[in-house]
Amino acid sequence: MRRSLGDIVIAEGNNELNVQLVPITAVGMITLYMTGLSTEEWTAGWYYADEDRFRYHLEDYQGAPNTRWRAPYDPCTPPPEYPIDLNNLIVKIETFSNVDVCPMTGYKGSCKWGTYGPFVVKDGGIYTLNPVTGGLTEGGI
């Protein structure tokens, strides 16, 4: 992709030319698994910089209508109508457990693990995120 703004004329002596380059935004979809935690449910929130907000993929799932929660071994995907920025993926992880204590709250139940990224990912790629280490690896679980 090129932008042409015409020639420049350079005069004798010093000439200053400051420019701005426009980043190429690549959008797409990925499939994200979660590992490293024992939990009953989990969900991924997807960050959209142009809106400065996180979105969740809400759908009917295992009898629960319009829910963002998934079983621990099922993946999360971005909302189909909102592709993500593949060059700057930022995602937040939330879990729910009746067994494990959330290190952030000291209680069982809902646990917000914070945000991870930015990552560079491939459109259609499958990845696994470990909220404990913050590492994102290619492939599922």
Partner: protein
């Protein structure tokens, strides 16, 4: 250096001309990200066959150019190429 006085007959006057250096121009600037506003390092800047790369501050510099019209190209992976 004053006038010369020619005498009758043959007169020799050898002279030296001092060359005027051709005018030169320098071009410098900073390359930044249009969205983040941060400097971009490693941008390939090309002008009249000369190539340089922006440094950690996004700065680039050419010197010894002839004044005139040029096409300058700024290239970096992940960004639109800019031609000025």
């Amino acid at each position: 250096m004053g006038d010369i006085v020619l005498q009758e007959g043959l007169n020799t006057l050898n002279v030296q001309l001092v060359p005027i250096p051709p005018p030169t121009a320098n071009l410098y600037g900073v390359v930044t990200d249009a969205q983040a506003g941060s400097p971009i390092v490693g941008v390939k800047v090309t002008i009249d066959g000369q190539v340089t790369y922006s440094d950690l501050q996004g700065a680039y510099y050419f010197e010894g150019l002839e004044p005139g019209a040029y096409t300058t190209t700024f290239e970096k992976e992940g960004y639109e190429t800019l031609i000025r």
